[in-house]
């Protein structure tokens, strides 16, 4: 197709002209011949991406392992430190009951049986 006809077409039949223009564009943009470096460069890029993915994968695995180890350590620490806390946790009633059960001379309770069967404290 003569390129000059494309630009100097006198007939304003735009629809068919546009089709001709697209056909001319197709001819003007032939598929370029790939250079000899195309495949080596492509594989270089693939290898580079693979190594990045591999390093990232290793880093991720290391991070997951470390996180799992820390979790395990925390669980062990939690289970071993289940002793009585150092601070006071009893209620007032519990404290009274505990002190009542002590064999202290001040809190000793004596029960006397009265003749009528009643008890006297």
């Amino acid at each position: 197709m003569a390129e000059n006809d494309l630009f100097n077409h006198p007939q304003p039949d735009l629809e068919s002209e546009l089709d001709r223009i697209f056909a001319a564009y197709r001819e003007a943009c032939p598929a370029p011949e790939p250079s000899p470096n195309f495949m080596p460069l492509l594989w270089e890029k693939i290898e580079a991406r693979r190594s990045v993915s591999y390093s990232f994968g290793r880093l991720t695995r290391a991070f997951i392992t470390a996180a799992a180890a820390i979790c395990l350590l925390l669980v062990v620490l939690q289970s071993t430190s289940r002793t009585q806390p150092a601070f006071y946790t009893q209620t007032y009633i519990e404290a009274l009951a505990a002190s009542a059960s002590d064999s202290s001379p001040y809190t000793e309770i004596s029960l006397y049986e009265l003749p009528g069967g009643d008890t006297y404290q």
Binding site: L6, C29, P34
Partner: protein
């Protein structure tokens, strides 16, 4: 399809030799489509390598070899979009660059006939690119795939995952805009001719 479905399956399974064969079979078609989509011949190979790199990384997600070609076209169109977006961000004047590269290519051509042919092609490319500037990047790609690459509506449906009617509407509107741009260029050329 340019290759056997078994070759695609092998490549999908991680066979590098099969992938290599796949690239060798499709690279000319892909490079041709990219050349028409981006309009800059010096960057075509780079964008083409991006397409095949993305193909390599995503091939295992391909459901069936039957949809391999639309899949590859989709990757091609996306890589071309990304390239054009980057160019726009850099604020480069694409047409000016195209002219410069064309001049270089024309200079490199040994004979006068070759130079003239290349100059004609460059004019055509620049002219069509200026017409297509009247539509969005997405519509430009769609028009090129339909009108220049010659893909059918069925194939475009598979590439864009859009139903046929919606595609027809988009194509019609894009074509109308290009026709309007063509008419206005013709009118301008007529006025300029009348003044001379």
């Amino acid at each position: 399809m340019l290759v056997d479905a078994k070759l695609i399956e092998r490549a999908r399974g991680g066979d590098d030799a099969a992938f290599n064969e796949l690239v060798l079979a499709y690279r000319r078609r892909v490079l041709g489509a990219i050349a028409r989509l981006i309009g800059r011949r010096e960057d075509v190979e780079d964008v083409g390598q991006q397409v095949f790199l993305r193909l390599y990384l995503s091939l295992e997600q391909l459901r069936t070899p039957d949809v391999f070609e639309p899949w590859l076209y989709r990757l091609t169109v996306n890589a071309a979009y990304d390239y054009l977006r980057k160019q726009r961000r850099r604020g480069e004047l694409r047409m000016a660059d195209l002219s410069e590269s064309a001049v270089q290519m024309a200079d490199a051509a040994a004979g006068g006939v070759q130079r003239r042919e290349e100059s004609d092609r460059t004019r055509t490319r620049e002219y069509v690119q200026s017409l297509l500037a009247s539509v969005s990047e997405a519509d430009r790609a769609l028009l090129i795939l339909k009108e220049v690459e010659g893909l059918s509506l069925k194939e475009l449906e598979q590439i864009y995952h859009v139903n046929e009617n919606a595609l027809k509407v988009r194509l019609f509107r894009a074509r109308q805009r290009v026709l309007k741009a063509l008419a206005s260029q013709r009118a301008d050329a007529g006025k300029a001719g009348g003044r001379e």
